[in-house]
Amino acid sequence: MIELISKLEKLSLELVQKQDYLYKVEVKKEQLESLLLSFLNEFGYITLDSINCRDDLEEGNFVITYCLLTPKRDHVVMVQTSIERENASLPSIHTFWPQAEIMEREMHEMFGVDFPGHPTLIDFALEYWDNIPPLRRDFDTLQYVNDMNPFRGQRDDALDAKVEMKKKREAKKAAKLKAEQEAAAKAELETQNNPSQEVQNEE
């Protein structure tokens, strides 16, 4: 591990320990391919476990994470880079790691990241998909479902509990007010009637 840190320092990169068995290094897009190759050929990280992509819509970029393992498989190094969201494109690494072919194909379909030189950028799970790539965060799943599928209408009698609470509170208040008014009116009535009653009692 110390060797790796010193080797990365030569490339002016910093290795951060995230968890017990997890390290992370961030690189620029231009350095990525050469760094991955030196991880493969020089540092001994010959296993590519996965390629992960995340969509940072607010910052306008995709964050791509390559997870690498040594043959000992006792820790993971995440090599992270961020690329522009518009016309996203990355160098394909399927020639070095055969399993990257399928991971890149998936990323192409789900995020629309282009891989020049990739042999099979065909459909992965979605056939004849003509919308924007579905895992981009500006694709609204709920909207899509509502557009594509009709809903059964028998749940229209559902009530909004907050509105109902308000209604009930107001009804309660009104009832209380009414009760108070009635009580006041009754009291007034009583005071009007009382003298006569007293007179009656005396009689």
């Binding site: 010959i46 590519l48 996965s50 399993q99």
Partner: protein, 371 residues
């Protein structure tokens, strides 16, 4: 050679085929009975978990991850829970750790029994599936008691587990393990030593040990080639560093070697569970105090966790963004590489009747490929 390719017949093995391990298909170019080209197709089961998780809060998302793999939901729950714990810095108690380890090992046994049914059924031994699925059901009965569900447990929660052990649960588990130990001898006689299985499986689907490391093959595919690697030993999580167990390996790399590795792993699981029964603390919080679901926020950070499932290492990448929603959760199950890179290579020049057997021995689970 050109003549060969012209005379091929194209058939689709799956998605509606009893020998396929779920809703996927393999497109085969056949010359006689020999496969000349194989191409995997998925897309029959795309439910979009990774997208759905982004719309939910952490508490809501946890109920969906177990559906990513039907035969073994628990490694998914464990991965999800541990990723959230890594991000938020939640510490879980020792008892919760033991319970989670126990659930993972119980799940491993249940998955192995289901695998045994598939493996034997795919070569025409009809008796073994009936037995092994019955034996798996005894484990599901225990799950039902512990978690409230037979298949989808929704049990491991960020911060611990959702329920305490029922009274007398450990003794019932111990009884079941006694029963399983006896059963494995029976399966040895009728299945693993069976000459039909040996004749069909030895020398079929041989994986080259040199490819294994570079191509990130995991699980029994790796251990069947004699590479002694296991996430439970290499990057221990939960209580695995305090438990004593071996990693079984075989050197041949064929379907039979992988079957033997799985059988030995079942014995190791029983050994682990016996230790857990002995060491289980009687006191301890099962669930840490966690915020309400609208206030459970993930920091803007990312993490990567690995769990050894019954079919190999299963990894989750998870990133938060400071809000209560998960920015991104990516699943990398063992099937993705096995079903594409490995299966397409293994099937070339093998027989049509070996396709189902090879797929079963690789432990391919389509919902994990397309998520």
């Amino acid at each position: 050679m050109k003549n060969d390719l012209e005379n091929t017949i194209k058939i689709f093995h799956g998605p509606q085929h009893p020998g396929i391990t779920g809703n996927m298909s393999v497109e085969l170019d056949l010359l006689g009975e020999t496969i000349k080209r194989a191409q995997t197709h998925v897309g029959y089961l795309h439910r979009g978990f990774e997208k759905l998780v982004e719309r939910r809060t952490v508490v809501q998302a946890f109920t969906i991850v177990c559906r990513i793999c039907v035969p073994e939901p628990d490694p998914n729950e464990e991965n999800f829970a541990r990723a959230v714990e890594n991000l938020t810095g939640l510490e879980i108690s020792e008892k919760a750790k033991y319970i989670r380890t126990m659930v993972l090992e119980m799940q491993r046994l249940a998955t192995m029994f289901l695998w045994m049914g598939g493996q034997a059924g795919s070569i025409g031994l009809g008796l073994i599936p009936q037995w092994s699925v019955c034996d798996r059901d005894y484990m599901l009965d225990l799950f039902e008691e512990l978690t409230g569900g037979r298949v989808y447990h929704m049990y491991a929660f960020p911060g611990g587990v959702r329920r305490d052990l029922p009274e007398g649960f450990l003794s019932r588990l111990s009884d079941l393990l006694d029963y399983y130990e006896k059963r494995i001898i029976v399966y040895n006689n009728t299945f693993f030593d069976n000459i039909i299985f040996k004749k069909r499986a030895i020398g079929v689907g041989i994986v080259n040990a040199d490819d294994v490391i570079k191509n990130a093959y995991v699980g029994q595919v790796m251990r069947g080639c004699g590479i002694k690697k296991d996430v439970r030993k290499d990057m221990p999580y939960l209580m695995y560093d305090k438990l004593d167990f071996d990693i079984p390996v075989q050197s041949d790399g064929d379907v039979y070697a992988r079957a033997l590795v799985r059988r030995d792993e079942m014995l190791q699981s029983i050994k682990i569970l016996r230790q857990i029964i002995k060491q289980m603390p009687s006191e301890g919080d099962i669930l840490q105090k966690i915020p309400k679901h609208r206030k459970f926020k993930l920091p803007a950070d990312d993490t990567y966790v690995q769990t050894e499932s019954a079919r190999g290492a299963m990894s989750y990448y998870m990133a938060g963004d400071g809000s209560e929603k998960i920015r991104r959760m990516q699943v990398r199950g063992p099937s993705l590489v096995h079903a594409y890179t490995l299966l397409e290579k293994l099937l070339v020049d093998s027989q049509l009747s070996d396709v189902a057997m090879t797929m079963n021995s690789l432990g391919i689970c389509p919902p994990e490929i397309e998520r």
